[in-house]
Symmetry: C2
Subunit: 212 residues, 2 copies
Amino acid sequence: MQAEHCLMGTAERKAKEKEELKELILQAAQKLFVEKGVEHTTIRNIASEIEYSVGTVYVYYRDKNEILHDLHRRGFMKLGASMAALQHVSHPFERLKATGRAYIAFALDNQLMYDLMFNMKAPMHTMRMNQEEKWQEGMATFGVLRQTITDCMSAGYFKGHEVEALSFAIWSAVHGMCSLYIRERIQGASAAEPRQLLEEAFESLIRMMDVK
Amino acid sequence: MQAEHCLMGTAERKAKEKEELKELILQAAQKLFVEKGVEHTTIRNIASEIEYSVGTVYVYYRDKNEILHDLHRRGFMKLGASMAALQHVSHPFERLKATGRAYIAFALDNQLMYDLMFNMKAPMHTMRMNQEEKWQEGMATFGVLRQTITDCMSAGYFKGHEVEALSFAIWSAVHGMCSLYIRERIQGASAAEPRQLLEEAFESLIRMMDVK
DNA sequence: TTTGAAAAATGAACAATGTTCAATTTCTTT
DNA sequence: AAAGAAATTGAACATTGTTCATTTTTCAAA
């Protein structure tokens, strides 16, 4: 069916080109999502941004949700990398604090991405289609936090707590701050600037946790 | 210009009928939003649910966002009432715990409403149009929490904390749990059932706070 | 170099949606 | 009963996500 010589070479190149175009679509989508929001970005926008036709986008992504899902996946890789970089901090409680700060920094520097990862329903729904287990991309990140907290408990912190529940509680607290900030639910809650209130709230959280 | 006798009577009736129809639209919208989600509910759906035409809906609500905004407002009234009912609990820390449980109960019993109140961008945007101050509907609720926490501090709790930041931190923690639960970000995080993990996390939070 | 089939790209066409508004119906007052 | 006001209608428009028959491009084989 297929000739032998130099075929594999072109096939590879083709595959790489396909990947590059897919990447191009993703970059354009992310840019437009940030600029005008997910809802107000049309497939036609994305297509004309990369100077291809509408149909081409549908060749590489089944629908708009699949683009969201791909961005979602990348978000978790980025957050995961950012947290993995802190594993060298040996004192567990210091590592916990650093992890929290890194998490907040990620959320605030990539607000739309964070929104996509934790506040949007769409990506979770498209994942059902694939596998029950696919969300574990995100849960690996939770595993890192749980390990750090386990280490803290070994060092005498969090006496009387249960790891699983405590980890979720702490994750919730930090996520809650970021989420309320990003979704603009802090305006008017205090005289302070939203950003500063967030920082101070994180300090408060640390103070609550820091009892041996 | 207007006759005097029995005119006010009909005018009042007319006004009441208008209110009733507006109420009808809102009820239908809420029902359909819960059944099929906000995105997948069309104005035509709402119209045919109440057996009126599309145009009529637009007479009472400028656009879909205004319907969302109205539900948003009602949500805060309901949550506010639920929290106000606990002001009789005299011991401040007990009141704080009860407030948290009431908050969680509200979020889980009215998941779509909660979503609307804290996770959706749309209602916040339409509010900008009206007044800078309108979001205070929601902030009154925060005020109740802050007062309870102030009382806790007077009773010796939360030593060394700053009220504003601490209140926001605690709100964040509880909101985070509810938000992650509703947005289905707990699946697979633990062997436990999501609902049970949420309860246990709340217990963990209380344990962290309960140091005099 | 030519060729022809496979791969990629196209964009017109479709269905569904939010929204508008001139026309119609219903109600109220005189 | 009739005129005027208010409420209701639903056809029509613009925009969207999505599909698919058609066209263009690519490239191994002759």
